[in-house]
């Protein structure tokens, strides 16, 4: 029998805020004692609307966008009705009725219905080819329609408009943005910021039209399809589709229908507890008009409202009194941040500006008459956002003009986080102050509320994150957090060791400089001369050996180290995979990947690979890098396999090395009707140029023959996309667990310019990166980021480009195929045996069983192996 005392809570709207509310309820145990019913209008549970555009730009699937953990609803006994919106609320009877006819009685009703896109009432707005951009369904409809058109326009140049423009661009359309205001993102940035943003956005190939209105959508009389837009300046913009992104309006229709108070410009009126005038009804997120008289169109304030409402429902204290509108966004790959009083509305305030039109950087701070930092706008270079935002409301310790100058542009003092007062909020998502962070590290005299100094003694950023929650949401403060933790540890006398390992006190980049400057040709010489005190003359370790081996390999021709990685001392330094020039797999067998430059291969060579795989019984799989991986080779088979491959003209693919892997390509202009350049030839040229180049981590690349980007170049360490005028070079992209979109380094390059720039970029990366640091992480870490790298490799700001090019030239001239060089050398070959005392005997622990017509490693029963328990 049902427990008649059980209360029912009904949530209307399952968006980002609604889901956060459910999580907050579950955290407080409310779901365990209350029946919770959710009415969800969309055909799928809550998903990450903020990252909608990643569907186009990064190929994230609708499923991956979900923000609901698997099994969440079942675990907490929540009844979720998907695709069944609420149509009526009866506050007298306390019931909600859904479109399906379902009627649920409630004790508490929470409205989290979000917003709808506003479509201005222009003629033609309902024609085929007109869209809005808010839901996954919108996105699928846009994608389907875009397949048949070549161009599109977005009405509205605000945050959402630029998101929509990113989507159209991601679909390969010629993209236009039409904004009525005189600049882009008029709400967040000022005129100067808008100009910088515009230049950046235009550099990406998006056409921007500001200060013009949309008067009419022109439509083909026959088909009813959009043909373009008539603009207020009398011009006609011919486009195949239009996306309206002219702002949003709160969805308050349910509230209006049941007599709840709504604001003049919409939004359900609530108090600081997010409660409406009816004590059993709450409203949260974008549909609410908060106690401070504002409707918030950002997700973070919505989350705060969700927490507040959940606390109130659970009987705890909580209030939402308004939120900081500070934002740091990446729109179309351009960084934009604004914080505090960005428009300088306070009485007597002054602007301090830095603007560099050439590189599209704009930084403005708003300072009060007494020197207090009030707010600011950053475009293009948002490095210092993490520091400036917490300083808001205080007088910065250095003059504001020094704060707007970008690093390396003559800023006399770099402002460190030590400048922040203890009460400065470093992590605004989780409201953690500098004082609380210092207390977590146990720093001197910083005992905040609830914990004296020394109670916690975190010694790393990871520990501080866990202890304070700082940096665990949006992550924009993590850099400052790291600096704070380092400074605190240093002040507490804990030495912060940045050394490579117990044997070297230097970083990898410092060792590189030492090897290069002093022309040190061997690991021993480096360890004995430059290792830590006690480490000299010793053994080293598995960390420093391969790291130094990689430096020696990159610089071999210059410092006089052996060019072959298995020559002399070098052989003993290599990671296992490099040592056997193959990739060790879980059962101790190896896999073999011959190089297939650009992914282009003749039928004859394909047949050779097939024959080798068949003759040696290898498992074959096509890799993501457009080549073929052959698995299951025993150590003693490797030279035999390679003898055949080398004979047929194959070379090592370096799949085993921290080195260039592949340069993928699409088929390009030669065959494809969209191609504008010969991407296959360029990919082959690049792959042959950089093959064998040892680097701090693996290097991946791709070349696309047109803006459709079929080769996925923007997810590579260096990626090249053809334009009508040449090549655009992107750097610092990554797939994998922490995907990063590559940044545009330079555009419309000739073949020679492209190669020269890649030469410099790679050599600069090899020189300055940490061990196992991919270009994506490196680019985020090095001071000045992309701008600095561009200054160095494009504008030669350090005057080292000639040297970088010479180093690459030496690499190219010194390249030899490692496998051919191994087959020629009996001494190197002699190591390819399973057992030194029984060269012909295969390792009996390497065993295979059949699966789907090929082999796979036989599962090993660990209890049967020689495991000695002590």
């Amino acid at each position: 029998m049902a427990d008649t005392t059980e209360k029912t809570l009904v949530l209307v709207g399952h968006g980002m805020v609604g889901q956060r509310f459910l999580e907050a309820l579950a955290d407080r145990g409310v779901t365990a004692r209350t029946r919770v019913v959710v009415l969800c209008e969309e055909p799928r549970p809550a998903y990450d609307r903020v990252h909608l555009t990643s569907y186009f730009s990064e190929g994230v699937s609708p499923r991956e966008l979900s923000v609901v953990e698997d099994g969440f609803m079942a675990r907490h006994g929540i009844e979720l009705h998907v695709g069944d919106p609420a149509v009526r609320v009866d506050r007298d009877r306390r019931t909600v009725t859904a479109r399906s006819g379902l009627t649920v009685g409630y004790d508490t009703l929470v409205l989290a219905t979000g917003s709808y896109p506003f479509v201005p009432p222009v003629p033609g707005k309902d024609a085929a080819g007109c869209f809005v951009y808010r839901t996954i369904e919108d996105l699928l409809a846009i994608e389907a329609y875009a397949a048949g058109v070549g161009s599109g326009a977005v009405v509205g140049g605000g945050l959402l408009g630029l998101e929509a423009a990113g989507a159209l661009k991601g679909l390969g359309l010629d993209t236009h943005v039409v904004e009525f205001a005189p600049r882009l993102m008029p709400v967040q940035v000022d005129t100067g910021g808008g100009d910088a943003l515009r230049r950046r956005v235009e550099a990406l190939g998006v056409r921007v039209h500001t200060g013009v209105g949309t008067q009419q959508i022109t439509v083909d009389g026959g088909t009813g399809r959009v043909t373009g837009m008539a603009l207020s300046d009398g011009s006609h913009l011919p486009v195949g589709m239009v996306v309206f992104s002219a702002g949003v309006r709160p969805r308050d229709e349910l509230a209006r229908g049941c007599g709840l108070l709504v604001g003049e410009r919409g939004g359900i009126v609530v108090d600081e507890q997010c409660r409406t005038a009816d004590p059993s009804v709450f409203a949260i997120g974008e549909c609410a008009l908060a106690a401070d008289g504002r409707v918030y169109g950002l997700v973070a304030p919505g989350y705060e409202m969700a927490e507040t409402a959940a606390r109130t429902v659970a009987g705890e204290a909580g209030a939402f009194t308004g939120a900081d509108l500070s934002t740091k966004l990446k729109l179309l790959g351009v960084d934009v941040a604004s914080f505090g009083d960005a428009h300088g509305t306070a009485e007597g305030c002054l602007d301090v500006c830095y603007s560099d039109a050439r590189s599209g950087i704009y930084r403005k701070l708003v300072v009060g008459a007494d020197g207090t930092l009030l707010g600011g706008v950053l475009v293009g270079d948002v490095e210092s956002y993490g520091l400036l935002r917490p300083l808001t409301g205080s007088v910065p310790p250095v003059a504001p003009e020094h704060l707007v100058l970008p690093a390396g542009a003559g800023a006399p003092v770099a402002l460190g986080p030590s400048a922040l007062p203890d009460e400065a909020v470093v992590c605004s998502c989780n409201n953690v102050t500098k004082g609380a962070i210092r207390a977590a590290v146990g720093g001197a005299g910083a005992g905040g509320a609830g914990g004296g100094a020394g109670e916690h003694s975190c010694t790393s950023v990871a520990e501080v994150k866990k202890c304070t929650k700082a940096g665990t949401s949006c992550g924009s403060c993590v850099k400052v957090l790291g600096q704070l933790v380092d400074a605190e540890l240093e002040a507490a006398g804990v030495e912060v060791d940045k050394g490579l390992c117990p044997h070297f006190a230097q970083t990898r980049a410092e060792l590189y400089e030492i090897v290069l400057a002093l022309r040190i040709p061997s690991y021993r010489q480096l360890l004995d001369g430059h290792g830590r005190e006690g480490a000299r003359g010793g053994e080293g370790c598995e960390v420093c050996k391969p790291a130094v081996a990689s430096i020696l390999a990159s610089l071999a021709p210059v410092v006089g180290a052996s060019v072959h990685v298995l020559e002399g001392e070098q052989a003993a330094l290599q990671d296992t995979n490099d040592h056997f020039l193959a990739n060790m797999q879980k059962n101790g067998s190896y896999s073999v990947v011959p190089r297939i430059p650009g992914g282009e291969i003749t039928p004859e060579k394909l047949i050779v690979i097939g024959e080798v795989a068949r003759d040696f019984g290898l498992y074959t799989k096509i890799t993501g890098g457009q080549r073929i991986d052959l698995f299951g080779a025993r150590v003693e088979q490797l030279p035999l396999i390679w003898a055949r491959l080398v004979d047929a003209g194959f070379e090592s693919g370096h799949a085993y090395g921290k080195a260039l892997r592949t340069v993928k390509s699409c088929v390009g202009q030669t065959w494809c009707r969209y191609g504008v350049q010969d991407s296959v030839r360029m990919a082959i040229d690049l792959e042959l140029r950089y093959r064998g180049l040892r680097s701090p981590h693996k290097l991946k690349s791709a070349v696309s023959g047109c803006a459709r980007e079929c080769a996925e170049a923007q997810s590579k360490d260096f990626g090249v996309i053809a334009t009508a005028n040449g090549w655009n070079l992107y750097v610092g992209g990554n797939g994998g667990a922490t995907p990063r979109h590559a940044d545009l380094l330079a555009k419309d390059l000739s073949d020679a310019e492209l190669v020269r720039l890649v030469d410099r970029f790679l050599m600069f990366y090899i020189r300055t990166a940490d061990r196992l640091e991919r270009t994506s992480v490196w680019l985020e870490r090095i001071p000045g980021g992309l701008e600095h790298v561009r200054d160095v490799v494009v504008h030669d700001s350090l005057g080292i480009c000639e040297e970088l090019e010479a180093l690459m030239a030496a690499h190219v001239a010194g390249y030899r195929d490692e496998w051919a060089g191994t087959l020629d050398d009996p001494e190197r070959l002699s190591r390819f045996v399973s057992f030194v005392n029984a060269p012909g005997t295969p390792d009996p622990t390497v065993r295979f069983v059949p699966e789907r017509g090929q082999i796979k490693p036989e599962p090993i029963l660990l209890s049967l192996t020689e495991r000695v328990t002590v």
Partner: protein, 124 residues
């Protein structure tokens, strides 16, 4: 098809005297020429009872022998790992999941409950 013997020319034969021997089953077993042991790098030997040993030499010329099978994966791979040292205690790091094993007593430095066998070894 090419065979291993075609590829191994006589030049590969050791030219420096000295043989590495392992004490196993109550007797010394000759395993390889001393020269085959590269400082900092191991080789594997198949023992008469079917077990496998991994042999190493450090920079100072001292030799070590431990079980070759990695207890965490069951694969005979420890001889393929890189040699390092904590202070002056040498160890090998498994190439698969990187656990380290002390070359003197076989203990795993990353999991107290695990160790591999050790064997007396000498060069004669």
């Amino acid at each position: 098809m090419t065979t291993m013997t075609d590829l191994l020319s006589p030049a590969a034969a050791p030219s420096v005297p000295g043989t590495v021997e392992l004490h196993v089953g109550g007797r010394w077993l000759a395993v390889c020429a001393a020269e085959a042991l590269l400082p900092g790098r191991g080789v594997a030997a198949l023992l008469p009872d079917g077990r496998q040993a991994a042999l190493f030499r450090d920079r100072a010329g001292r030799t070590y022998a431990i079980g070759n099978v990695d207890p965490f994966t069951g694969a005979g791979v420890l001889s393929h790992g890189l040699v390092g040292a904590v202070g002056d205690r040498p160890y090998v790091a498994s190439p698969l999941l990187k656990q380290r094993f002390d070359l003197v007593d076989g203990r795993c430095l990353d999991d107290e409950a695990v160790a591999v066998a050790t064997y007396p070894v000498r060069v004669r």
